[in-house]
Point group: D2
Chain length 370, copies 4
Amino acid sequence: MMDVSVYRIATSGPEDLRGLKELVDKGEINPEEIIAVLGKTEGNGNVNDFTRGYSTFVFRKYLAEVLGKSEEEIGKKIAFVMSGGTEGVMTPHVNIFTVKADAEGEESDKKSLAVSAGFTRDFLPEEFGTMAMVKEVKRVVLELIDKAGISAIEDVHFVQIKCPLLTSDRINDAQSRGKKVATEDTYLSMGYPRGASALGIGVALGEIEESSLSDEVILNDWSIYSNIASTSAGVELMNCEIIVMGNSTNSVSKFRIGHSVMKDAIDLEAVLEALRNSGLEFDSLPGPEDKKRIVNVFAKAEASPDGYVKKRRTTMLTDSDIHHTRYARAVVNAVIASVVDDPMVYVSGGSEHQGPAGGGPIAVIIRQKE
Amino acid sequence: MMDVSVYRIATSGPEDLRGLKELVDKGEINPEEIIAVLGKTEGNGNVNDFTRGYSTFVFRKYLAEVLGKSEEEIGKKIAFVMSGGTEGVMTPHVNIFTVKADAEGEESDKKSLAVSAGFTRDFLPEEFGTMAMVKEVKRVVLELIDKAGISAIEDVHFVQIKCPLLTSDRINDAQSRGKKVATEDTYLSMGYPRGASALGIGVALGEIEESSLSDEVILNDWSIYSNIASTSAGVELMNCEIIVMGNSTNSVSKFRIGHSVMKDAIDLEAVLEALRNSGLEFDSLPGPEDKKRIVNVFAKAEASPDGYVKKRRTTMLTDSDIHHTRYARAVVNAVIASVVDDPMVYVSGGSEHQGPAGGGPIAVIIRQKE
Amino acid sequence: MMDVSVYRIATSGPEDLRGLKELVDKGEINPEEIIAVLGKTEGNGNVNDFTRGYSTFVFRKYLAEVLGKSEEEIGKKIAFVMSGGTEGVMTPHVNIFTVKADAEGEESDKKSLAVSAGFTRDFLPEEFGTMAMVKEVKRVVLELIDKAGISAIEDVHFVQIKCPLLTSDRINDAQSRGKKVATEDTYLSMGYPRGASALGIGVALGEIEESSLSDEVILNDWSIYSNIASTSAGVELMNCEIIVMGNSTNSVSKFRIGHSVMKDAIDLEAVLEALRNSGLEFDSLPGPEDKKRIVNVFAKAEASPDGYVKKRRTTMLTDSDIHHTRYARAVVNAVIASVVDDPMVYVSGGSEHQGPAGGGPIAVIIRQKE
Amino acid sequence: MMDVSVYRIATSGPEDLRGLKELVDKGEINPEEIIAVLGKTEGNGNVNDFTRGYSTFVFRKYLAEVLGKSEEEIGKKIAFVMSGGTEGVMTPHVNIFTVKADAEGEESDKKSLAVSAGFTRDFLPEEFGTMAMVKEVKRVVLELIDKAGISAIEDVHFVQIKCPLLTSDRINDAQSRGKKVATEDTYLSMGYPRGASALGIGVALGEIEESSLSDEVILNDWSIYSNIASTSAGVELMNCEIIVMGNSTNSVSKFRIGHSVMKDAIDLEAVLEALRNSGLEFDSLPGPEDKKRIVNVFAKAEASPDGYVKKRRTTMLTDSDIHHTRYARAVVNAVIASVVDDPMVYVSGGSEHQGPAGGGPIAVIIRQKE
């Protein structure tokens, strides 16, 4: 049997290892069992957000030292998915996922948290946001579902991907080889890989027919989307790092995951639904005991492409001072934080093909009742 | 008897008069009865936010034309309180307050919405954010409570003030006369007048002892605050424009107001409490019929001075790219919008001495049941 | 003969009329002779820059009052080209152009400043940045060259255009009619009309073959450009307002104009060349007497599309906090200001098809020697 | 004799070591001789700029590996001064300073580049920007002048300091111990240590009487300043790292340094004067051969405290979207880049007590003629 644990650790900056070190030093976390580090770092979450790379660099170096391996080896063993942008009241933090492969316990009907992590090949700049990415992501996601021991597709509740983005240098590189990139605008170049990765997840999960997709559909037809995908772009990598989360009868984890889909950025009902789907039972709003059982909430946020929320005009898309992904994160985090009474929840921006236009998937991990 | 009405009108830009014009042309609003225009405009809400001045300019010009008066006369008759900053999903809009002095009806025990508006004298730059402002604001607020026919101090639920701020030119002006200003940082200069105005309200309402105040207390001792004050700074004026809102037996208004105080930016309970205080009756969350009765919610937002919310670190005060008032508005608006299912609610930033540190007053106007 | 004058007036804000009023009140400017107001206002120069609209609104209202006409009539008589963005040390100001049609004097070989202004028809959102715009701009520019009495194409030195941009509402409008817009990103939507307008100028001036153009060329083939065009987008209009400047033997103006083209944002040589082309004579750098004769410098600025300047990497295109047009204006203004010893020079951002990629036209108006 | 070299290396990001590695691998740089790394990294240059810490982390780790020492040892041996903010066209880069203590050659009258680097003790948050900092900086600067073998104070041309700044956590820490910090605004907290460090340099160099200073003078009396100081604040340290640069007869360096002082941000004359002071000889503007000899230019930039440049209003201090240090860097870099034809010059923002108000020191290192 597999045992899966999740540790949510507040950080005081992108380089802050103290929380993790303490848990490792106390023996609470066995670093050999770490398969993924999923963090929120305090950059702008956009192209020139170096807090993601900084944090990845620091965590990888530490784990290399503690495990006596090279940083390159660690990079191939552990997925580092740092998502930038802690706007509003969002607290910077990391989530450490550990998997103990041979835990004691017997298989039963009870489904508990199962997690696996892996990597695609490196992509060329001209492949970012194209079908090449969709297909490679699909391939790896299917492998990872299997690896996590999740037997039914409906038991997959969240697939998190970190994908690359275009910079001036990468665009120049592709163009020097006579290749066309998805867009020459570096900020917009975050959306294409996010969208393509999400579609790859949707295809893997059977939500989307692969035959309905083409390069032209990506970032164009918003009616096609995954309800499980959460993808985030960063300058610090050239491949996709993938974390699959679900429930499995193969797992003896103390934790459980559930999810729902926010229809817009202030969809309070969907937050409550996700909490219930994870296993919490409450009437109208979760009570203090329920809240204590919540380990973390993971959600995607974006400005609605038409600029409207509940048929009301917003200014997110016409504000040239602050990119709309920044506001979207602040808003969705605030709504969730107000319900769970804790601003340290994971919200990532830019939900192209992740949930309906203007909305996004939301997953919740809770501690199971003893 | 007095009859008071409120009209909430979405705008498509700071210069958009269409909604008001339509109501005036249809005879629904009698422009002679307008006493205050309270709007959210889509600038940055900070020093160089000219959307406030633009909107004020356009609305004043229109009302001057329609009432056959000079713009100067209109400026002395109607309070134009434009609050900048519609971050996140907040919908730009204006609230038009009308008062019909000699409405039919008889005084009863029933208390309904009563509103009055007025002006302080112009201040010198060196007076911004000092006791001179506290005292003059107190004087006018007391006059306005009387004018609104509000007999008990506990029936005052919201006092909105627009106050001035310092610019480079105003600082140079004061210094050329050998005077010291509260701060030489133009952005920080928004906080001092907001704080002093709020203290003036608190003194008028008996929440604060005037003797406990001095220039040194302003923006220093956060334990002193008003639970009713909402103040907002702008470059477009040199005096304070004040709107007092409460309930009165003298009013036959169809509306009613209530309030509460948010302890922090994600205080969902306080939002629910304010809704109940206004007269809505519901169990856990308001239902569709309750929401229909809500005319608008008015709240103040700020980053907690220590940077923490629910003992969690936030990055609002260390983000040098985006001022914390912008995030604070996005967060508080999102929390309220998620409850009332409508992003078009009024949230203004910078709640110095308005509610506890990191929190702020919240008021709700509802339509009374027939 | 035509007499043309230019007045450069510092402003203290978008609504500041004091400088113009003073000149009108003193009789120095005859408001009947004003044909164009060309200003730099202190907004972000991007989509949600309302300082342009505010300034236009205020100046139009004043001129309507002083000339006893409706604001609509003034809008058809006088071109108001407000360009947003006074980054770095750029001083906000307006340039007032006056034309006296029947001035005394006799035609000679001497060429002096000649200016004319006019308007295109309103465009539909789907026409922004397309050949429809190119053609209509060409038509009006040719009319205006004639109107200015400029007989040779090489005597045209600067053509300034204010063109519209897309907002969420305009995009939704086009889409609701089944039309496709040039881009759905509102910030990028400023570039398309700027580019199309510039190409229209280039065609009118014979710099560009109309047959070489198509919708696909616009914002794609940077090798096609005008050396005379300066275009600027704003939310406050739906048509193009055009000002043509050159020298003519028909003019007895005290002023003269010249120009050059900056190859990149720090092309000091081009600044010196433009000063010389206008008629200043100096060796290496202009001296104090030369500088006194300079009335204003008008330049376009942009980040090089490949992100490089003098083969050095810049971060303008990968900075997701601040749009590159803002930096470009700050840089070009600084270079010019350091030469002419005055930060109050006109620099406008986004020079698509205006000068070579990364560069832009630069024109200088000087007072002629008596 | 001492031999001093300077290597200016373009970087493709804060983590880019390729340029340095190449020079080390080729044997051009002996890593044992590196005493200081002085870089411009592409963050916002303000409080939440983590590119400085990231770059420091990466360079320190590399040098520790290559020199077979711990990172802590390297941190005590080599000064890492990373200055954030490459606004406008400024190219991110690092300057590597090497010193070979026992170089061949004989002392003569010829003065060549001499450099030394060192560290103050760690400061407590409440000491940032106070006389405690002034005195400790003075002490270390005097030691370093001696260490560099600079015999006359007028041969010191540039002293670069990296100093700490306040964060929410550091402010809370001081306050929890009952201590008062210089300011509770984290952005403003960058100025106090910069100012105090600069005054420490001025006292060490005899430009300023220590007796004229007090905590009250710091960031208050702008008439007191150093013409040699360049200080830069960062979140990544608690002490000051100091680099002293001058010329010495003890040095056989191929390089030489000179300096001047910019009176304002567009002071072209001062740029030319600094070039001449370093040893270049030219008439009006430097020619191609002169430019080739320039290794780097180091300058400080700030918005004038009164908001005016050449008696013209600028909007740098009233722009609440973008901090003035960002614009100041863009402007000063542009002016210098336009003269030396290269945007890869070092400009750091916030020149409190460094040069006159609104201006700042500027130093130039050139290759000496063979």
